[in-house]
């Protein structure tokens, strides 16, 4: 399965990665060779095999619905790029 440069643009958009025009060919080549490697899987008949998401029989653990975390907002916001009055700042979304 070979990828077109338009596919690279679509994937980059879904992945929220800015890709410059002059990087498209490089991605096309690298992703193409990785998909070529992965392609070997298609030769195997797996119609009757159930997918395995997780190696061990692990299921979601439940816990009592009580507060376990303390308020550490000030500590966590010390490492934020931009905050104001306890809020995280981003460029304006709604005019």
């Amino acid at each position: 399965m070979s990828l077109q440069q338009s596919d690279i643009r679509t994937i980059a958009k879904l992945a929220r990665l800015a890709v410059k025009e002059d990087e498209l060919a490089q991605y096309q080549q690298a992703l193409g060779s990785i998909l070529g490697l992965v392609e070997q899987m298609q030769a195997v008949q797996t119609d009757t095999v159930a997918p395995l998401a997780h190696p061990l029989d692990i299921h979601a653990r439940l816990r009592p619905d009580v507060v376990t975390e303390t308020d550490q907002r000030a500590k966590f916001q010390q490492i934020a790029p931009e905050t104001e009055n306890g809020f995280y700042l981003v460029p304006r979304v709604i005019e």
Partner: protein, 484 residues
């Protein structure tokens, strides 16, 4: 002093032959002097180390200490250490001061260990050479023109060069075992779920597992005693009865059944690697073990399945890096989308972006079944292969890597060849099994690793087998020239 194992250091500290402060200063001094050749540490944390050492000395004085009290250790820079920069080898987290401790760090702190610093790694643990780090490549102390392996290459390099007596690592597709093999040390990847993933920056959550990297199997057993345990903060942590991993080190190997998969000894295998590994396996036979051929017919599919599953999980995990709450943010974003896309494009390196793109693609509408679901089905075939083999034998042995350490820049522009260097390790992660790599000889001056794979929760058995081998060999005692 830097040639001692953890077990020996423990005795020296216990009998007052040396203090933790003296030992810590000794390793910090070695790190300062020798790390520039290796770039194994991203940074040392001397203040924290000396404070911990002082506390350890008091604990020892008051006879409240355990076997690891006062012994220094280095942490892979994937583990959050409260108040310390935790970069994961990425520009994205270059400014990230972790606001909490990983459970592994908390447990080793509680055992009285002294954190010397943070070790270099492939960016977000994505790599097999430690060349994708934002902080530059780490080199192999056996030949500094070669890679140490990866992604835990910094940990392997500093332990091999004796700039730390032991280190932590993480293993998603071989990232503990492969660098351990290439640097001539011991590295154990435990059963998935035994060591908490809390505070260990996520790469591929169904595969990631932390573990010890050390000189000897005995040292790894001592570290396992402190690292393993149920953690309510990790949703896939396993609650198991507490084990003493050192208890069975001395067991005899008589009657142990060793499986040899023909798929691990193909023509692609480097000749020296094949010969040394075969010699090591013969030694186990002489020690009373019996050898049996086993079949792992889907081995060749492990790399393809892994390079769908791991990037898929990574693309999801790494979506949290958006330039909003922590980490790198681009300059002057024009709108929110620009902030996301440019922060991520500028903050992540090439290999990480490649994997995010692949992961995004295989999970996208129209391709999910052909790639992701298919890979999960193959994952089951691979796990079933191991389960069938491990019904017939106690452990499986083979090479850890297809060849010894390669040159810096040899594979960095060829991702597929780089991926293939993990051919013998990734299947173990897909199956969630434990495996250990131990030094089994040299090719010229380059170390060769023997991998021993066991059934779920067989770590004590793996450590026993590795320890018995190390009692009769001295590969693990060799120190690279220039670091003696």
């Amino acid at each position: 002093m830097h040639e001692h194992t953890l077990a020996e250091l423990s005795r020296l500290l216990n009998t007052g032959k040396i203090s933790s402060t003296e030992l810590t200063r000794l390793y910090l001094e070695r790190a300062e002097r020798l790390n520039p050749q290796l770039n194994g540490y991203i940074n040392t944390t001397p203040e924290r180390a000396l404070a911990q050492a002082k506390a350890a000395d008091l604990t020892i004085l008051h006879k409240n200490h355990g076997p690891l009290t006062g012994i220094p250790i280095a942490h892979k820079d994937i583990f959050c250490v409260d108040g310390t920069r935790t970069s994961c080898g990425s520009k994205m987290l270059d400014n990230f001061i972790a606001p909490y401790n990983a459970t592994v760090v908390e447990k080793l702190d509680a055992a009285g260990m002294v954190t010397l610093g943070k070790t270099n790694m492939d960016e977000f643990a994505m790599g097999s050479s430690t060349e994708t780090s934002y902080y530059g490549p780490t080199t192999n102390p056996w030949d500094t023109s070669r890679v140490p392996g990866g992604s835990s290459g910094g940990s392997a390099s500093v332990v091999a060069a004796r700039l730390a007596p032991a280190a932590t690592g993480t293993d998603t597709g071989g990232s503990i075992r492969q660098p351990a093999a290439l640097c001539g040390i011991t590295g154990l990847k435990p059963t998935y779920g035994l060591v908490s993933r809390y505070g260990m920056i996520a790469f591929a959550s169904s595969l990631d597992q932390g573990g010890p990297m050390s000189r000897t199997a005995e040292d790894a057993a001592m570290l396992m005693n402190a690292m393993v345990g149920f953690d309510p903060r990790d949703s896939t942590s396993l609650a198991r009865p507490k084990l003493d991993y050192t208890a069975h080190l001395s067991d005899s190997l008589a009657g142990v059944k060793v499986g040899i998969p023909k798929q691990y000894f193909t023509d692609d295998l480097d000749t020296d690697t094949a010969n040394k590994v075969q010699e090591a396996i013969k030694q186990f036979e002489q020690a009373g073990a019996s050898l049996h051929p086993v079949d792992l017919p889907n081995t060749h599919l492990s790399i393809p399945a892994y390079y769908v599953i791991a990037p898929a999980e990574a693309s999801s995990n790494l979506s949290r890096f958006d330039g909003v709450r922590f980490g790198y943010r681009c300059q002057n974003p024009v709108d929110l989308l620009d902030l996301y896309t440019r922060s991520r494009a500028e903050g992540f390196g090439r290999e990480v972006k490649r994997r995010i793109m692949i992961g995004t693609y295989v999970l996208s509408a129209g391709y999910f079944d052909a790639y992701y679901l298919k890979a999960q089905k193959i994952r089951r075939l691979i796990r079933d292969d191991f389960q069938n083999a491990l019904k017939q034998v106690d452990v499986i042995m083979g090479p850890t890597t297809p060849k010894p350490a390669f040159k810096l820049n040899e594979l960095i522009d060829d991702p597929v060849s780089m991926y293939l260097s993990d051919i013998f390790t990734v299947s173990v992660n897909l199956a969630g099994l434990p495996a250990i790599s131990i030094p089994a000889g040299f090719s010229g001056q380059l170390p060769i690793g023997l991998q021993i794979i066991g059934d779920y929760f067989s770590e004590a058995k793996l450590l026993n087998i590795a320890h018995q081998y190390q009692l009769h060999t001295d590969w693990h005692k060799q120190t690279p020239g220039g670091f003696a």
